[in-house]
Symmetry: C2
Subunit: 147 residues, 2 copies
């Protein structure tokens, strides 16, 4: 999306995480390769704040894409759709190794006109290491300019 400088998902932020999300059927999927500095206290596990960031951006991106889908539009087609995070919840189930990709799988749990609830699981290989939920709030196109 043009003009997106978001540290998590902005293509225009060279220092950011630059995460990418795509649909696989009804699941939205994101694969992320951790950087060595994104470690927890011990250097071989991924920092929980980075996991929260991945869940946040992946779920908001999923909510935005779901809005476009519900309206029968391609992402970016026509008037821009923008969502912000209302609430983020993360449950940490097990340490996440830093030396391999993590995969996030999200589904839309509740699709409202204004609020979209997205549920997300984080996997390291076959192990589910965290689960999260995001309440994404659709804001009018003018919102970004107002900011």
């Amino acid at each position: 999306m043009a003009g997106n400088h978001c540290y998590g998902c902005g293509t225009e932020n060279p220092r950011g995480l630059q995460i990418k999300s795509h649909w696989q059927g009804e699941e939205s999927v994101c694969v992320y390769t951790p950087r060595r500095e994104q470690c927890a206290g011990p250097t071989h596990y991924l920092y929980g704040g980075t996991i929260a960031s991945l869940i946040d951006c992946h779920c908001v991106g999923t909510a935005v894409s779901d809005h476009y889908r519900r309206e029968g539009r391609e992402v970016g087609e026509g008037e821009e759709i923008w969502c912000v995070t209302g609430r983020l919840t993360v449950d940490y189930l097990a340490p996440t190794p830093i030396d391999r990709d993590v995969t996030l799988r999200a589904t839309v749990a509740d699709a409202g006109d204004r609020k979209t609830v997205v549920a997300c699981s984080v996997y390291s290989g076959e192990t589910r290491t965290a689960e999260g939920e995001v309440v994404a709030i659709r804001v009018p196109p003018s919102w970004r300019d107002r900011m």
Copy 2:
């Protein structure tokens, strides 16, 4: 704390946020100066994932410090106390400007032997822009080595 490489609060992670927390009476306080790249979609607001990271580390640090305090010890005195994040919840109330310090104020809401619940508010100036809660789980000293 020696050997803490955490991206959020580790003094031994030169690329990390290096947040510092200290007590002011019953409140634990952290002041953080955002980096320009830690922006949301628009460049003048702080990224929600960074806010979540600050809340996570500040609250876990507060829980650890509270354990020491309850045992009448200085932080780092005697057998090391270590907590991990069980659950992190963040409610975003308003956009947080990136061009000024943010202040986190946390209090211990429930102090158990194993679980400590820490409530936290994030301020930009006088404006409360986010609130969060962390359930911090005390783990045995051997936990870090097991990892």
